[in-house]
Symmetry: C2
Subunit: 226 residues, 2 copies
């Protein structure tokens, strides 16, 4: 069954664990996200890197390491499976939804399903709680499917799973000018921290620390200047 | 050999992989950090939680999961071992250093060593790079030992190890009013991101999402209000 390009009436959304068959769509969705954020110059993902880093053999249990989830949409009900993390039924009777890209995003799960988004998350650690938490690196929904409650379902489902497995926190980042997103997250119960800033070493600035484990006199002098 | 409470002449610092014997000191150091940050109300760590979350059986390879490192100081040279991540020789000839707490922090590695700090870090993931990075959750040095280049050695050694094992980034957080720290990190080559804000769901705000994976009509209506 081929995916339609216009959806109407009832549509079923499933957030499910991804597997290596989803890599081509994950790649395309990350690229769309990079375009959306005007950050394509930072885009260095490849199918091979995504496969080896997200779907290693053996695959760790979900949410215990890097975890990729896929949002599929279907014109018919999707039976819940062991891979299901969240679901939502949309009612598009009042306004059919055009998804011109649908043919480019057939879900590898078949059944006329279309892949419309993804989540990447992984455990972080709180020393004060001495417990793992879950960090949500990305939540992305393709443009035609936004503003239908799918982002809320995805974040709620991921947060629910984290709470159920005993994690103490769920954290993610938002841009300070994105007041709509901040309002939405606060309304979901999140605290937005205004004082913390992220620091990053990458590229040549990181590579220069290779081999810096052994303390040389030079490092010592640099350190004393601190 | 008992640890001295005043250090003079040459002192050798080692940053090394921690093991379960270090849990009592890690606990005390986290508590000192909570006091320093006036956040003792958030402190919920216990020896048992630290042991089970940081030192599970089997222990994953260093830097592939939650990783604890210990800073030990010694009045004599510490031979490098497989656990050594970084080292630094301090010259205290000009000004001996009093460490009144030294007797409370004997290193379980013996040899008159004193534990003076710790690092907690874990892998994160960059979708744009399709690669793991390293997130440094905490770097802490007990008060008497600050301003001797130990923090720089610790961050440099951890960054060096991350770069050597092919990680694409090293990231951590800083408070926006801590200009000394920001200057130091920038001088080490880090970029400080001013636009990103951390969002957190925790406690009851998180627990309410338990069981939210299956999309109910109520959630759907809430979602449509988004």
């Amino acid at each position: 069954m081929a995916a339609p390009t216009t959806f109407s009436g009832e549509v079923w959304a499933e957030l499910r664990l991804a597997d290596a068959r989803d890599v081509p769509h994950i790649y395309s969705l990350i690229h769309q996200m990079a375009e959306f954020e005007l950050l394509t110059d930072l885009f260095a993902a490849t199918h091979e890197l995504l496969t080896s880093t997200l779907f290693p053999t053996p695959q760790p249990a979900p949410f215990t390491s890097f975890t990729a989830l896929i949002l599929d949409l279907s014109p018919s009900a999707i039976p819940a499976s062991a891979d299901t993390v969240g679901s939502l039924r949309l009612d598009l009777a009042a306004s059919p939804l055009a998804d011109p890209e649908a043919a480019a995003f057939p879900s590898p799960r078949g059944g006329g399903r279309v892949t419309a988004g993804f989540v990447i998350c992984f455990p972080n650690y709180s020393t004060f709680l001495a417990k793992p938490g879950l960090y949500v690196e990305d939540i992305f929904v393709r443009a035609p499917w936004r503003r239908h409650g799918l982002g809320r379902m995805m974040l709620s489902a991921v947060a629910g799973r984290a709470a159920e497995i005993g994690m103490g926190r769920v954290e993610w980042c938002v841009l300070d000018w994105n007041q709509n997103a901040i309002d939405f997250y606060e309304q979901m119960g999140a605290e937005v921290f205004t004082k913390w800033r992220i620091c990053r070493l990458t590229g040549p600035a990181l590579d220069k620390y290779k081999g810096s484990g052994s303390g040389s006199q030079e490092e010592k002098d640099a350190g004393k200047a601190e």
